[in-house]
Each structure stands twice: as C-alpha cells, then as structure tokens.
C-alpha cells in the first residue's frame, strides 16, 4: 500500500472520547444497548484477529461465558463486586483457559478448528446447564458492581460509570490490537492465511503464532463477557455460552469486516441497533434478517460493513 495516513489511532481515540461524552447524555435504554454492543465488540476484536489469520471459531462463547460467570461467581460466592478485581479476574481466567486449550486447537484449521472450539464451548455449556450450584438454565444474578469502594449508586449513575470504564477499556484494547497488527506478528495473520509453508520456511513457527493470537482472542472475549455480566445484571448459559452466542459473535465479526480495529465496534453497534428494533417490530423475522444479511455479506460485501464505510470515505476524499 502506498503511504496512506493512518488515522486509526486518532480516529479511535476521538470515537471513544465522543462515545464516553455522549454517554453522559443518552437515555438509559440506549446506554444499555451500547454497553452490550461494546462488550460484544471486545470479543469480536479478538475474533477479527483470528479471522484475518483465516480461522473462525464457533466456540468463543466459551471465553465470553467464562468471563461473565467469573464476575458473577465472585459476587455470589465471595461477595466481591469490586470491578477492578472482578474484571481482571475474568480476563485472567479466560486467558488461562485459552492458553491451555490453545495447545490443542492451534494444530487445526478450517472446519476442524471451528468445530473443536464448538465442542469445548458446549462442554462448558453442558456443565453449566446441569449444575444446580451454578444456577443451571436459570442462571443467577450478578451483584451490583462497585468501583474503588464506591458502592452502587442509583442505577443510572452506575451504568454510566460502567460505560465510561468500558469505553476506556475498549479504547485501550483497540489501540493495543492496532499496534499489534502493525508489527511483524500482526502481519503474520494474513501471511499465515496466505501461505503457512512460506512462513515456516522464513523461520517462524506457525502454531506458535496462532497460539498467541488465540490467547489474545480468549482474553478479549473474557473481558467482554465480564462487562456483559455487569451490564445485564445476570448470567445464564443460553445468553452467554450456548453455540448460538458463538454464532452471533461470528456473525458480527463477518458483518464488521476485518478492515480496522474500529470495525468490531461499528459492526456491533449496527447489529445491536437492528436487533433491538427488529425484535420490537418483527420478532419472528429477526433470524431471517440476520441470515439474509450474512448471505448478502458473503456474496456481495466480503469486507463487511467497514469496507463499505471505507469505500464511501475514499469517494469522499476523491470528490
């Protein structure tokens, strides 16, 4: 690519600053929607890195759910609701599990990679559904979060506080992933997808590279899941661990496109907005809309929504 100015860091910073600022003004329902969207976008950010590497996981609800349940359980079992403890714990647990499972999945590609991840996530799903102590299919509530000792205020303030924190975390994640993608390891995404043999012969271990990206995606999904649990106020297997959730994450990844670290956030917002409205007006056609959209993207817009935005922006520049 010819030297194009990289607006990503500036754009992402401005975007999240604006979002955080706007957040103080938005009505509660929209705030809630955005929190869910951004939490999911964190997971999608990780999946995007894997997607660039040519890998799709149908089981990342495993880490998403692990993150969510960690936050919830810390509150339920130990009475810990301090965000600065629960969220890092959620991320760490997801990272650790991802690290272990990574040793296994890093040797697989294509459908097998997708299915193996699915299998692992459904193992967790099966465990959760059958374990009464973990709430089984009903799940259980998440204790209201506290930050630095400040207890939960009235719902509005707490939610906004969470949102600002989420914006900060998302900003950090986006910037870090962006810098990662600019490095050699970051380029070893599309390179591996294009030609693994060449990468090995140039001197780098492909499975080591994939393992690293997998762990990164697990960490991001865990953090996202943690935020989701706090935002929703409750956890249950069908909202967080079932394969349909993994499918949702994959859909948003494809919808957003792999073009930029901002894409998952834009894509997730689009998805969440459409989902809320579709649920209200066409509750029995929601899946149909998703399905048709996914087919549309596969056939006509493989770069996702972001590629559309990029095209429009380029035309705007040329004009």
């Amino acid at each position: 690519m010819a030297a194009a100015r990289d607006w990503t860091v500036a754009g992402v910073t401005a975007g999240f600053a604006a979002a955080a600022g706007l957040g103080l003004l938005l009505p509660d329902w929209l705030m809630n929607l955005t929190v869910v969207a951004f939490a999911r976008a964190l997971a999608v950010l990780g999946l995007m890195v894997l997607w660039r590497t040519g890998l799709v996981s149908f089981g990342h609800a495993l880490y998403y759910g692990l993150g969510a349940y960690t936050v919830a359980l810390l509150g339920k079992q130990f009475g810990i609701s301090e965000i600065l403890v629960t969220l890092p714990a959620a991320t760490l647990l997801a990272t650790a599990v991802g690290f272990l499972i990574g040793f296994i999945v890093r040797r697989y590609r294509g459908i097998f990679f997708a299915m193996l991840n699915l299998a692992f996530s459904m193992v967790l799903y099966g465990i959760l559904v059958k374990t009464e102590a973990l709430g089984s299919t009903d799940g259980f509530n998440v204790h209201p979060p506290s930050l630095l000792g400040y207890g939960p205020g009235d719902a509005g303030i707490t939610l906004r506080g969470i949102f600002v924190l989420l914006c900060a975390a998302a900003w950090a994640a986006a910037i870090l992933v962006h810098r990662y993608l600019q490095s050699t390891l970051g380029h070893l995404t599309t390179a591996i997808r294009d030609n693994e043999i060449r990468v090995e012969y140039l001197g780098y271990s492909v499975i080591r590279a994939i393992h690293g990206k997998y762990v990164m995606s697990a960490a991001l999904a865990g953090l996202g899941g943690g935020f989701l649990a706090i935002a929703l106020g409750q956890v249950d297997p069908d909202s967080m661990v079932n394969w349909t959730i993994s499918g949702e994450l994959v859909f948003v990844t494809i919808l957003a496109g792999p073009g930029s670290v901002a894409a998952p956030f834009v894509g997730s917002m689009v998805y969440e907005l459409i989902r809320s409205y579709a649920f209200e007006w066409l509750p029995h056609a929601w899946q149909l809309i998703v399905g048709v959209t996914l087919l549309g993207i596969i056939f006509f817009l493989p770069g996702g929504v972001w590629s559309l935005l990029a095209r429009v922006a380029r035309r705007g520049e040329a004009a």
Binding site: V56, I104, Y108, G110, I111, F112, A114, M115, L116, L118, A119, F120, M122, V123, Y125, G126, I127, V129, K130, T131, W243, T244, G247, V250, I254, H284, A285, W286, Q287, L288, V290, G291, V292, T293, L294, L295, I298, F299
Partner: protein, 298 residues
C-alpha cells in the same frame, strides 16, 4: 439386570435417533465437502410438516394407521423441495469456496429457515400423537415403553442397510464413491458431477427431514427444535468420520450408549459427555473413526 436392559434400550433408541438425523449430514459432507448447518432446519421442517399433516389426516377422520403415510410424505416433500431449492439456489454458487465460508452460508440459511417456520406454522407447538398412540406400549425390562420409540431402531437399521447396499452395490453408489474420492477426475471421466451433487443433497435433505418427521409424534414440535439437533449431529458425524455411513452408525451408537449410561448413572454429565467425546475424538483422530481414505495432495 432390568436396569441394564432399560439403559441398553434407551441407548439404542437414542442412537437410532442420532443415526437418522446424522446420516444425511455425513453423506452431504462426504460427497460435496459441505458441512450443512441448515440440516437442523430440514429436520425441523420435516417435524413440523409431519405433525401438521398427521393433524390434517386425523381431522379428516381417517384411520390412525394411515397417519404413518403422512410421515413419509412429509419427509419426501420437505426433503425433495427444500433440498432441491437450497442446492440450486445457494449451494451451487459455493462449490469452489472456502469450506468455512460455506459453513457460514449454511448457517445463514438455517437462521432464515427457522424464521420461515415461525411465519408458516406459527409459534404454538404441534402435537401429533396419533402414530404413537396407535402402536401402544409394551413392558420390556421392567419399564413401560412406547412401541413407537422402539420402531425407531428398526427404521434406523433399515435405512442404514439400504444406504450401505445402495452405496456399495449399485451403479449409482459407485458414481458417488468416485466423486467422493476425486471430483476433478470424476468430471474428467464424464460423470455428471452436478447431477450427483443435486441428488446427493436432496437425499441428505430427505434423510434429515425423515428424522424430524418420524420423531415428531414423540415430542412437542415447537420453535427451536432444530437448534439442538445441529450440534448433536455434528458430534456424531465428527466422531464417526465425515462422509462415512458406517461411521455415522458407530458414532451414533457410541454417543447414544454413553448418553444413556450417563442419564441413568450420572445425570449431571449427560450433556457434557457427548461434547467431551466429540472433543476427544477431534483431538486424537480428527478425521473421525471411519473417515474414507483421502489421498494426500501435496
């Protein structure tokens, strides 16, 4: 002893169910290298159509014995029509594309078909108990069972044998085997591969629909029926080897028996055990236990 018989029969019934719903999936994968997520929806469509037709039949005052015919009609109609439309309308545009993209496309199709069910059949559950009621119950191994669920075992066995004979003894079966082994060479030899693909997909669709159609009288046919079937049939197909019919049978038996034992001895692990077996097989023998030999391409 009685407990063992009960567990065994439970396992066999569940295995038969699994075989029925998975064999279509494995055939499609074996021939076309496509993992058809929409299979779950074909199952659901088969179930809904069968339940509806049985209801219509019953309302027309016709003999319960004849309601079995409705099951067959539902399976063939759904499989034939939907299968054909899907293959010609979508799958054929994806022959050359990356296998994961194809899975995503069939996943999208699954979502679409699920909602069309809601639009066509509504959200209320259907109950089509007539065939089951007709066959009554019997006491075996100290438990009262529906004879209907036992016929599942018979149906699975018949289908298995018919498919196996068809694949190994008939000309059609040999063509299929040739295409499974090497598509390019088959085309070069003058085999109409497109026709093989269409017929294979329709066959797989009919089998999937038959699974749903036959099971309909045993369950409450309600939205979301297809969701669980997908992952279960994936597990069976993966364990047995994608593209292998005997593999699907063995995989179904393994999963079915494991699950029956789990349900009776350790109910907590019932769900988990299926996916754990799937994970273990994928890790140690990713091509499954019986996958057809694949010539390695450099």
């Amino acid at each position: 002893m009685e407990a063992a018989v009960t567990t065994l029969l439970d396992g066999l019934v569940f295995s038969s169910y699994l075989f029925l719903v998975s064999v279509g999936l494995t055939i499609i994968f074996g021939v076309m290298k496509i993992l058809n997520v929409a299979h779950g929806s074909l199952y659901a469509w088969g179930a809904y159509t069968s339940a509806w037709l049985i209801g219509v039949w019953a309302e027309a005052g016709l003999a319960d014995a004849g309601s079995f015919l409705m099951i067959a009609v539902a399976a063939i109609a759904v499989g034939g029509v939907l299968g054909f439309v899907l293959e010609r309308g979508l799958i054929r545009f994806m022959y050359a594309r990356d296998e994961v993209i194809v899975v995503l496309a069939t996943f999208a199709t699954f979502l679409i078909l699920e909602d069309v069910i809601l639009l066509v059949f509504g959200v209320d559950p259907y109950f089509a108990y007539q065939p089951m009621a007709y066959l009554g119950s019997a006491e075996i191994g100290g438990t009262l069972r529906d004879v209907y669920s036992l016929t599942l075992i018979g149906l699975a066995a018949v289908i298995g044998v018919v498919l196996w004979v068809g694949l190994t003894r008939t000309r059609w079966g040999k063509l299929l085997a040739a295409v499974i082994h090497d598509r390019e060479l088959s085309v070069a030899m003058g085999i109409d591969v497109t026709r093989v693909y269409v017929l294979t997909f329709v066959l797989g669709a009919v089998l999937g629909a038959l699974g749903g159609a036959y099971v309909a009288p045993m369950v409450s046919v309600a939205p979301g029926l297809g969701v669980e079937v997908i992952v279960l049939s994936f597990a069976v197909v993966v364990i047995g080897g994608m593209g292998s019919i005997p593999g699907a049978a063995i995989g179904a038996l393994i999963v079915g028996i494991f699950r029956a034992v789990a349900v009776h001895q350790l109910p907590e692990v019932e769900l988990f055990v299926v996916y754990a077996v799937m994970a273990v097989v994928l890790v140690f023998r990713p091509e499954g236990l019986f996958a057809p030999a694949q010539a390695r391409r450099i």
